[in-house]
Amino acid sequence: MNKWVYSLALLAAPVLAGASGVLGSAHSAPTEFAQGRQIYEQYCAACHGWQGEGAANWKKPDEKGEMPPPPHDETGHTWRHSDAMLFKMIAEGWRYPFNKSDRLTMPAFEEQMTAQEIQSVIGYLKTLWTDEQREYQKTESQ
C-alpha cells in the first residue's frame, strides 16, 4: 500500500512542490519516475519481474545451482543496500559466491546504461518499498 502512496506522491510532486517547495524540482519527479520505470522495463523486468516480484523460490538455488533473481519490491532485500552498493551491483554485476557456475548471474550494465540512468532506475526501485524500508535504506546510504 505504502509503495503506491509513494508512487502517487512522486506523480503529484509538481503540485506539492509548487505548494511547499519540499519535494524539489516541480517537473523532475514524474519524469524521473517514468524514466526509471522505462529503464527497469527495458533491462530489469525480464529477470526481476514486471512488478519487481522476482523469481519464484529465489532463496534457493535453481537446477543449475544458481541463485535466482531476487525481488526488488518490499519482499526482497534490495532495500537493505545503500545507493552506492546498488549502483555498483547494477554497473559491475554480481555473482553469488556459492553458485555452481562462474558467470555473473546479475549482468554488468555499465556498457548499456549511463550513470544517470542507473541512478534513475534505483530511484524507481525505491517506489516499490515500504516507508520503513525507504527509511532504513536512507540510513544505509548515509
Binding site: 532463496k59 534457493k60 531476487p70 532485500h77 537493505r80 543496500h81 552498493m85 551491483m89 554480481w94 559466491p97 556459492f98
Partner: protein, 282 residues
C-alpha cells in the same frame, strides 16, 4: 609369619602408591577444570579466554588469571564470549544482556540500555568493524549496534529456527562487509551481513551449540552439534566430522595454537599440524 606380614605390608604400600599415582593428576587439576567449557575466545594480547560456570579465566603461556564476571542476577547466565575487531572482550547471555570488559579498569560495562530485554541467547562481534556488534534475542529477533553497544536497532528476525550460536566472518564474496553464520536448532544458517536472506549452509543437521572460523583462512568454518566437531573448508557448503577425544562444547582460534576446543569435562585441547589433539595447560 614375618615374611607373610612383610609381603602384605609391601602389597598395601604398593596399592597406596598406585592409588596416589592414579589420583594425583586429577587432584593437581584446578578445581574448575572439571566443569564444561561454555565459551572460548581470545583477548587482544592473544590470551585464551575460558568461560565456565565457575568464572572466566585468561590463559597466556604458563600464566592463568581469573577475570571477575560482572555482578549479575542469579538467574542470569553468561554463555557467549566475543572479541571485537578492536580487541575488546564482550560477554553475553540470557538474563545478562551484553557487557564489554574494560581491561585497563578491570571492570565491566553494560551495553544493554537500548535492547528491548536482556534475553540475549547469542552474540557476535563484526570481524573488521570495531563498533559493530550483533545480538540475538529469541522472539525479538536480531539487533545490531554500530556504535559499540550504545544504540541497538532491530535489523532482522533471523533464521526460522532459534539461534544458539552466532558468528561474523570476513570471508570474501559478500555484497556488504562480511557474512553471518548462525548455529540454530536445524543446523548452520548463513547470510551476508546485509541480512539479505538466511539460507542453509550445507546440509549439516542438528542443534548447533558452538560455531567459529579461522580468521587466517575464513572459508574454514567449524560447528559443534551434540558434542561432535564439524569442519567446512568452503564457507559452509560441505562439512566433514573431526575426531576429538572428548565431547566438544566450545571453540576458538588462537594466534599461537590455532584451533582450540573446550570439552564437556572441562579440558582444553589444541589441534596440532597432524590433526592430533594436545592438552592446553591452565
Amino acid at each position: 609369619m614375618r615374611e607373610i606380614i612383610h609381603s602384605l605390608t609391601s602389597a598395601a604400600w604398593g596399592f597406596c602408591v598406585l592409588t596416589l599415582a592414579i589420583l594425583m593428576p586429577a587432584l593437581a587439576q584446578p578445581a574448575n577444570a572439571a566443569q564444561p567449557v561454555k565459551a572460548l575466545t581470545i583477548s587482544s594480547s592473544g590470551a585464551l579466554l575460558v568461560l565456565r560456570d565457575s568464572g572466566l579465566l585468561a590463559i597466556e603461556g604458563d600464566t592463568s588469571t581469573e577475570i571477575a564476571l560482572p555482578a549479575i542476577d542469579q538467574e542470569a547466565q553468561a554463555t557467549s564470549l566475543a572479541k571485537g575487531a578492536d580487541g575488546n572482550l564482550y560477554l553475553a547471555g540470557p538474563g545478562l544482556g551484553v557487557w564489554r570488559y574494560d581491561s585497563s579498569g578491570e571492570s565491566w560495562q553494560s551495553l544493554s540500555d537500548t535492547l528491548p530485554n536482556l534475553g540475549v541467547t547469542a552474540m557476535a562481534a563484526h570481524a573488521t568493524q570495531p563498533e559493530t556488534l550483533y545480538a540475538y534475542l529469541g522472539n525479538d529477533g536480531m539487533f545490531r549496534s554500530r556504535d559499540g553497544g550504545a544504540e541497538w536497532v532491530k535489523v532482522d528476525s533471523g533464521p526460522q529456527e532459534t539461534v544458539q550460536a552466532f558468528l561474523h566472518s570476513d570471508m570474501p564474496g559478500s555484497m556488504e562487509s562480511g557474512w553471518l553464520f548462525a548455529g540454530t536448532t536445524r543446523g548452520v544458517s548463513r547470510s551476508m551481513d546485509c541480512f539479505c536472506f538466511w539460507g542453509d549452509a550445507g546440509d549439516l543437521r542438528g542443534t548447533v551449540s558452538a560455531i567459529g572460523y579461522d580468521p587466517a583462512a575464513p572459508e574454514n568454518v567449524y560447528a559443534v552439534i551434540e558434542g561432535q566437531l564439524h569442519h567446512s573448508a568452503d564457507g559452509g557448503e560441505t562439512w566433514t566430522s573431526l575426531k576429538t577425544p572428548k565431547s566438544v562444547t566450545a571453540l576458538a582460534f588462537t594466534p599461537t595454537q590455532g584451533l582450540v576446543v573446550g570439552t564437556s569435562n572441562g579440558n582444553l585441547l589444541a589441534r596440532g599440524a597432524a590433526d592430533e589433539w594436545t592438552p592446553v595447560h591452565e
